[in-house]
Structure formats: structure tokens, C-alpha cells
């Protein structure tokens, strides 16, 4: 029972580099999310998707892009990495609707130097 799987778990990027965080879920959930968590802070929504082909911005979308070509996959692209993007990134999914319980992946630790 894999649930939500994220890769890589750890990554160090140089300023200006780009990379993609991969996320896949096997629960056939329509809704998927990317959150980031900075030290001592709560989770902040970057982007979300309510189904294949549909994405929308969350609270902190700047510097990121997403795509949703299939129900299972929701990659997060970082373009021109900056130190402010050093954070822990969590992918999540849910069925949506009332009483929405969101299921999280284990996280990806990203450091930009």
C-alpha cells in the first residue's frame, strides 16, 4: 500500500538550477496538492489540482510550475532555484469534497545553496 510517493527524498541545488520533484499516488484520488513547510511554520499550499489537466495556484506559487497529465502523477517544477526555496516539500492527495482528508507523502528535503 504505497499511497503517495515522492522522489527524491533529499536534494541539494545550486542557485539558478532547475529540477522536478516527482509525485505519484495509487489511491485514484482526483485531488492532488503540493505544500511546503519552512522551519517552525505550518504547511503552505503551492499548487493544487482537481483532476487531470486542471491545475491552480495556491498561497505561494511563485517560482514553481506544475502539470497534471494523468490522475496518478503531479510533478512540481522549480525553475531558477533560489535560497528562499530551501524547504521541505510535501505532495498530497485526497478524494475531495466535504470532510476532505488529505494524505501526504513522506516529504522531499530541498536545499538551495
Amino acid at each position: 500500500n504505497a499511497g503517495v510517493t515522492q522522489t527524491p527524498k533529499f536534494r541539494i541545488l545550486k542557485i539558478g538550477q532547475s529540477m522536478t520533484l516527482q509525485c505519484t499516488q495509487d489511491m485514484n484520488h482526483n485531488y492532488m496538492y503540493w505544500y511546503r513547510q519552512d522551519p517552525g511554520m505550518g504547511l503552505k499550499l503551492i499548487y493544487y489540482s482537481v483532476g487531470a489537466g486542471i491545475t491552480d495556484k495556491g498561497e505561494v506559487p511563485n517560482g514553481y510550475n506544475v502539470s497534471r497529465s494523468t490522475t496518478e502523477d503531479f510533478p512540481l517544477r522549480l525553475e531558477l532555484a533560489a535560497p528562499s526555496q530551501t524547504s521541505v516539500y510535501f505532495c498530497a492527495s485526497s478524494t475531495g469534497g466535504f470532510g476532505n482528508t488529505i494524505y501526504f507523502g513522506e516529504g522531499s528535503w530541498l536545499t538551495v545553496v
Partner: protein, 114 residues
């Protein structure tokens, strides 16, 4: 401006005693409320939830209380066990709003002392 506030960054409780974690929210449109537990180097995991039509929900050692008039919810853990040491996030949702997931508090680090 924080919509969800967990005012205690950390809480230390003796094993066997009751742990009470608190959460305040500002928007009366929120109508379901969840608690997540997070261990270091892992993702948050769902613990317990409550909808606005109830004021209490129990699941084993965990009980969530909701006071809608005060816009306050709390999580009670009794008796507290060493494995309960973790960061606990309060999360709120609005079923009538958009699909943009949940709004989270900053978390409370619960430490259970032997």
C-alpha cells in the same frame, strides 16, 4: 494574517497524564477540522477529525472538542504515551469553498516525558 493559530509551539507532558493541544481559527465558514501528527523526517498523517455539526469526536485515546462560538478546537490525548511525542498540526477546511485543500496551523511539538 493567520487563519489558524496554534499558540503553543511546544508542550511537555508526563507519560500517563493528559495532553491538551489547542487551536483557534478566525473564519466562521470553516466547517470541518482535522488534526495531523508528524514525526521527524516523515509526512503528516491524519489523526482525527470533526465536522461543525458535532462538538466532540472520540477515537480511542484521542478526543477532539469543537467550540464553534469561540472558534476553538482542542485535541485531548489520554493517557499520553512516549510514542505520542510528535508535532501536531491543526487543519481546517471549508466545504463550500474552493478545492484548495486545508489551511494548517504552525504546529505544536508535544514531548512526552517518562
Amino acid at each position: 494574517d493567520q487563519q489558524v493559530k496554534q499558540n503553543s509551539p511546544s508542550l511537555s507532558v508526563q507519560e500517563g497524564r493528559i495532553s491538551i493541544l489547542n487551536c483557534d481559527y478566525t473564519n466562521s465558514m470553516f466547517d470541518y477540522f482535522l488534526w495531523y501528527k508528524k514525526y521527524p523526517a516523515e509526512g503528516p498523517t491524519f489523526l482525527i477529525s470533526i465536522s461543525s455539526i458535532k462538538d466532540k469526536n472520540e477515537d480511542g485515546r484521542f478526543t477532539v472538542f469543537l467550540n464553534k462560538s469561540a472558534k476553538h478546537l482542542s485535541l485531548h490525548i489520554v493517557p499520553s504515551q512516549p510514542g505520542d511525542s510528535a508535532v501536531y498540526f491543526c487543519a481546517v477546511g471549508d466545504s463550500g469553498g474552493g478545492a484548495d485543500g486545508l489551511t494548517f496551523g504552525k504546529g505544536t511539538h508535544l514531548i512526552i516525558q517518562p
